[in-house]
Amino acid sequence: MLDAIGNGLYGLIAGFTNLHWSNPIMIGVGGLLLYLAIKKDIEPLLLLPIGFGCILVNVPLAGLMEEEGFLRTIYDAGIATELFPLFIFIGIGAMTDFGPLLENPRIFLLGAAGQFGIFLTLALALALGFSKLDAVAIGVIGACDGPTAIYVSSKYAPHLLSAVSVAAYSYMSLVPIIQPPIMRFLTTEEERKINMGAVKRSVSKTTKILFPLVVTVIGGLIAPKGLPLFGTIMLGNLMRESGVVSRLTKASENEIANIVTLLLGISIGATMDGRNFLTPQTLMVLCLGFIAICLDTVCGVMFGKLLKVITGGKVNPLIGAAGISAYPMAARVAQREGQKYNPKNFLLMHAMGANTGGQVGSAMAAAVMLSVLKGMGII
């Protein structure tokens, strides 16, 4: 009888006795993510479920990530199969107006330059001793694009998934803090004052409808391994521009995106078990991710300067910094920085063009990377 009572009581304190030293720290990290989401309004749609998932998985003996645990079920259904990031991409495509990009197609190049940080960081990670596929997953943080980072890391370096996704989403939200000093350092005051004029509305509906089809076919032929990434964005965009499936478009950008964001966030948080997460490797991934975003900005602005020279001073290099995938934060940063030096300057629509170019560019860069890896026989 006393034994039974003793065992019963032990059952109530087993959670405490099985607590690993890393669990309370990770519960604190989860709390910090919740604080950032709730009090600072930093990417709340993602950081809130990630933070809560992190807390859930660090409570011992609950078995949420063990076989048949509910978080494991969600993870296996959407992350292991890579479905969640692709569903999010359909929503992104449905939400994005590529009009400003199509007004000035050469801005596409800024969307490519803004991805160079991926490859430079990949090389840096290799130099620091990471394996090839780990370096690929770390480099892709430089896409500044959560779904792409999740897609690539869940497939090729699942043990880094939590660190890579937390880095990708955190730095994406910190773009307004990270980018301006780099933009100011690399440009002169005269360059920042360049007025690019107003964006005219001069793209036909046919062009807007053909755009996703051309990107899908041409991009798919060049980089077939990444077709799911940009193919889903383009599907969403085709639905939007065709105007004939408004119910599907609305569902993609609202209900589907919302549900998947919740499930994606909570299952990423569920990978943040302290025993695996609190390692020097995670710290290195976070540092390299930061470097990746900085390098993206440097390459984007430098390419903007090159375009300025080529066009005879018609391009403001600040919009180069918007050639990353953090939409629309990066475009707003370029607009704000431009207006600081020339209050009559309205760079927003030009920067939006570069920013949407960055969205295509990030998926395309990851696709190119995967196809090159396939070509080299590494995947």
């Binding site: 990009l101 199509l102 090389a123 090159v372």
Partner: protein, 45 residues
């Protein structure tokens, strides 16, 4: 393949491949705009 060769290959082919793809897409977009020019009537729709 050693890490050095892999890293340099990824930088050259990855960055080059990305910019070439995007450049090709920008050319095609420019071509589409010429083939299907914007008509003022579309503004009213």
């Amino acid at each position: 393949m050693d890490n050095w060769t892999f890293g340099i290959t990824m930088i050259i082919v990855g960055m080059g491949g990305t910019i070439l793809t995007m450049w090709l897409l920008s050319l095609l977009m420019g071509l589409l705009r010429k083939l299907f020019p914007y008509k003022k009537e579309e503004a009213g729709k």
